[in-house]
Symmetry: C2
Subunit: 309 residues, 2 copies
Amino acid sequence: MGKLGAWTVRFSDRLSEIGSRIETTLDDLLSEKLLSQEIGRPPQLLNAMRYSSLGGGKRLRPFLFVESAALCGADGQCPGVFRAAAALEMIHCYSLVHDDLPAMDDDDLRRGKPTTHKAFDEATAILAGDGLLTYAFDVMADPATHDDPRIRADLTLGLARASGHGGMAGGQILDLTAEGKALSAEDITTLQAMKTGALIRFGCEGGAVYAGASAEEQTRLKTFGEIIGRAFQLADDLLDVTASEADMGKKTGKDAEQGKATLVGLYGMDESRRRLENLVGDARRVLEPHGERASILIEAAEFIAERTY
Amino acid sequence: MGKLGAWTVRFSDRLSEIGSRIETTLDDLLSEKLLSQEIGRPPQLLNAMRYSSLGGGKRLRPFLFVESAALCGADGQCPGVFRAAAALEMIHCYSLVHDDLPAMDDDDLRRGKPTTHKAFDEATAILAGDGLLTYAFDVMADPATHDDPRIRADLTLGLARASGHGGMAGGQILDLTAEGKALSAEDITTLQAMKTGALIRFGCEGGAVYAGASAEEQTRLKTFGEIIGRAFQLADDLLDVTASEADMGKKTGKDAEQGKATLVGLYGMDESRRRLENLVGDARRVLEPHGERASILIEAAEFIAERTY
């Protein structure tokens, strides 16, 4: 694979540092402690929500949120920014739980452990997903997340729009109904922009919103997010062809097996890699106005394109 | 059944008037028109979301929302209050779709028509539920719903807390795991307060929040909502024993069949009816400070207790 640039120790350290604070934040949010207006926290649901969200994943979306917020002037250490980023991660986790269900992608393995409906049962998995999805908006709208109610409402709106029928959930139905169909590059691009792109875009744009960034900065981060979302999906499709199940902690080679149209299938491996390099170049250029301060997000773009798991 | 008082033509007219405006609002919100940040509205998902939310139900929760808002001084005709009330109804509709799934209550019939997973398929039903749940928060947080971002954020938070693991979704898992178990009256009351009570309570309390009501008024409407939530469930359990499937448009007699513990099972029919009358009396007393202006909500309490479908 072409040299896309290399991320530094500083990047990997920061990725795991943010990942570990997200873990702590999720653990705390999903503790037994009741919040106002909550009548109970049934352990059989809480445990499934914990199982579905703790102890796994690179926490890439929260990383983008926190770093985008920091780039735009927020305090990248404040608890509120980690709450907002954890809310975003809850949406990602819920989507994995529901996507893995027998009626959807029917997967038994996720991040190297049994999927939620395998570890619990289908009803519990559906409700754990519903619970995480709902809790994401609870956390986002809570005054503990940000002092400014306008920012809380904007974040809630942005997260909902990225996740719902017009974003992630809509992308999932396109994906389910696309199996075995010949899609154009444009169809695939739209599907992927919805299914995975929208939430990655929100990670970047939402961070800027959290920081109270100018409209210009928000647009810049949004564009950056769109580009790296496309890079993420292209890299993912390449990995589905090349990586082993042991590397990925989930089933690979599924795209071809299910007759799923991907850009890699349309362009071939070499052209796909070339396009991936171009996307990383585009991502770099978008953040040029931020100079050296944007280097960690640039490294994130490189990481996304080069990742092997 | 004991005389609980009778609702007037004014009440039935207002119930159907609000129901019809909720229908129009949902129809508009679920049209093909793309909103900002939405990448697409895949028809196969949009149609299932429409099927799951349009053309059915008494729209009781939105009615409570609009009338509570009006009682606390909001303009009960403004489009924003109907948007907020429609968001609440989306949550109710999503919960029906997911509760009806084969892995949950496995129902084929809802409001006299095939359940969403029967009319479409399971994957589509799961995603339609996810889509409605997500869109509810989108609509609630949207500036078109209320000018004041603090109120939008508060409504979002309240709706999420009533719907999630600490409210409705938590109640559903308690319900699923309670089948065949002997529950105490306290257990059943908690289960029902979560599963159905929380959303009815939010209908009343949320209306007060929408209107920017004082803390005292908000508490009063919240208490009223809790009481009529209990009345609703008691009436529902009575109906499950006495009503026919044709009246209800769904399967009845399920509680006994599934060995589901209800208060009616514990108290018997006569004592349950007496308790229902008491709840209506309590509901009346809570709203006494509002005088005649509260009469339509009082009639709603009577309607809830006396309804036969």
